[in-house]
């Protein structure tokens, strides 16, 4: 394992400190328990809090700011944060209209946020994101995992909250966006959890993991390396199967890098994915290409399609001012 770190135990705090200092105009950092909030506390709105294991940067702290999150609770690498973080963060950003937690659907995250919600002295609601369609819904699963589509949920819900909408409306929009969003990822290499010091999984030089999770969880299958077009065709097919869009549906296409895949390849993937969706009658009218929900140093990428309607489009387009997403301001 070669990484820019000092001690694995200090890595998270050092990285959070760097983040907070690089973006000191936008965010403030609290340590022990660890959470980040907007620099300027918002007033009279639903406070949106997300969080999860670290290693997915810029998720979630990178999305703190006007039009998106009020706070984020980073856990250790790939480990869900603990309820004390959520409680303190909620205390810091509560703005008289309740707390909305946006939580990726993993047992650990769900339970920790659930316990926080139970202890919370404020009204709260939770949106679980579960856009990863690699996990086929069946009797064998507790449901799908939350992956890159979470960014779209956070953006739209954040936008709605800014208008003064109430907790239930925010939750409803989050669930709508989540239900219209599907993602699937492909890994070319494993990630390496710093504290573990070695790759999470072994993968040979001519294999790929189809449907990999953002923690390196195994996906649908291990298979032989193929040309990008063939790989992406399987990915877009899985997404189409999950979403069953109708002809002429407008969509947002997000090509997300897992951390070690260069932009040049991500744009190549975009090119293929956009063409394939287009062949299925989908109009890609919004795009996002880059590292938005990473898996440490994994080489790989995911494709996310979100079926737009006027409401979602409006909230996607509205101004946002965060370290990792910014427009209109």
């Amino acid at each position: 394992m070669k990484k820019f770190i000092n001690k694995t135990d200090d890595m998270l705090v050092e990285s959070l400190s760097g983040f907070a200092s690089a973006h000191s105009d936008l965010v403030a950092l609290n340590l022990e328990p660890n959470f980040l909030t907007r620099k300027q506390k918002a007033s009279n709105k639903v406070a949106i809090i997300s969080g999860g294991g670290s290693g997915h940067e810029p998720l979630h702290a990178g999305y703190i700011g006007h039009g998106m999150l009020d706070a984020a609770c980073p856990g250790h690498v790939f480990t869900s944060p603990t309820p004390d973080q959520m409680l303190m963060a909620a205390e810091a950003v509560y703005a008289d209209k309740g707390i909305l937690f946006i939580v990726k659907n993993y047992a650990g995250d769900v339970m920790n946020f659930e316990m926080a919600a139970e202890m919370l002295p404020f009204e709260s609601a939770t949106v679980l994101t579960s856009d990863d369609c690699a996990v086929i819904n069946s009797t064998y699963t507790t449901g799908r995992r939350g992956v890159a589509g979470t960014v779209i949920v956070e953006k739209c819900v954040g936008s709605l909250a800014e208008t003064g909408a109430d907790l239930q409306a925010c939750k409803a929009l989050g669930e709508k966006v989540n239900s219209r969003t599907a993602s699937m990822g492909v890994a070319l290499t494993s990630c390496t959890v710093p504290a573990a010091g070695r790759p999470t999984f072994d993968i040979s030089n001519n294999e790929l993991e189809m449907g990999v999770g953002i923690h390196g969880e195994p996906g649908r299958r291990r298979e032989a390396m193929r040309p990008a077009d063939a790989i992406i065709q399987d990915v877009t097919n899985a997404i189409l199967e999950a979403l069953k869009p109708s002809q002429g549906n407008e969509a947002l296409l997000l090509i997300n890098g897992f951390g070690a895949t260069p932009l040049m390849e991500l744009y190549l993937i975009y090119n293929t994915a956009a063409k394939l969706f287009n062949q299925h009658g989908i109009k890609v009218v919004r795009s996002l290409v880059g590292n938005y929900t990473t898996a440490l140093d994994m080489a790989g990428a995911s494709v996310t399609l979100c079926l737009l309607d006027d409401e979602i489009k409006q909230h996607w387009d509205s101004p946002v001012h965060t370290p990792a997403l910014r427009w209109g301001v």
Binding site: P33, G53, T79, T82, P83, T142, V193, A195, P218
Partner: protein
Amino acid sequence: MSTAFILIAAKNIRDTILDHESELESLDREIGDGDHYINMKRGVSTIVEMEADLAGYPPDAVLNKIGMKLLSTIGGASGPLLASFFMGMAKVLKEKGDESTHTYASAFAAGVDVIRLRGKADLGEKTMLDVLIPVSRQFTQLAADNMPVPQICTVLITTAEQGMQSTRDLIATKGRAAGLGERAIGHIDPGAKSCQLMIAAVCNLLLEAKESLG
């Protein structure tokens, strides 16, 4: 089971977990996300560091404090579950107000029940419950039979081991491995392994000490 015993047991648990670093790490890398060992290590080490703060309290308060601390140190799926377990145990101990083997058996069962509720999971889903539920059932039964503590311990060590081994051939339907389908088969569940290790650590300590629960 005195507070002093709990504190020694905490050390034993920590040492056992640390001794199984590579095994626990591998298991969670195979069908999870590779952090289970680190999560457990963080939790059990913190408890041992708390020793001085815990020493003055009765067992139920100690277990409750351990639960609270685990809740804010482990994280992940195992954090809230193990925390719930200790808090659930503490509640029964406090209610019953005695330290009989029966009370410990029902406290253990209560702890396991909180895990079931929190995790919405049951036997056969390839989780720590595949160790905890059989152990709890066995413990309740043997306590009802008034079996002496050392014998109970010997049986529970085996029950935990069998439960842990049983996860190997299961398909996971809860937790991070739930997405894997058939691919989870052949791998032991990391949480089941660490629970088996912790149970063995405590039972072995009791066997050595020949100390009774009551």
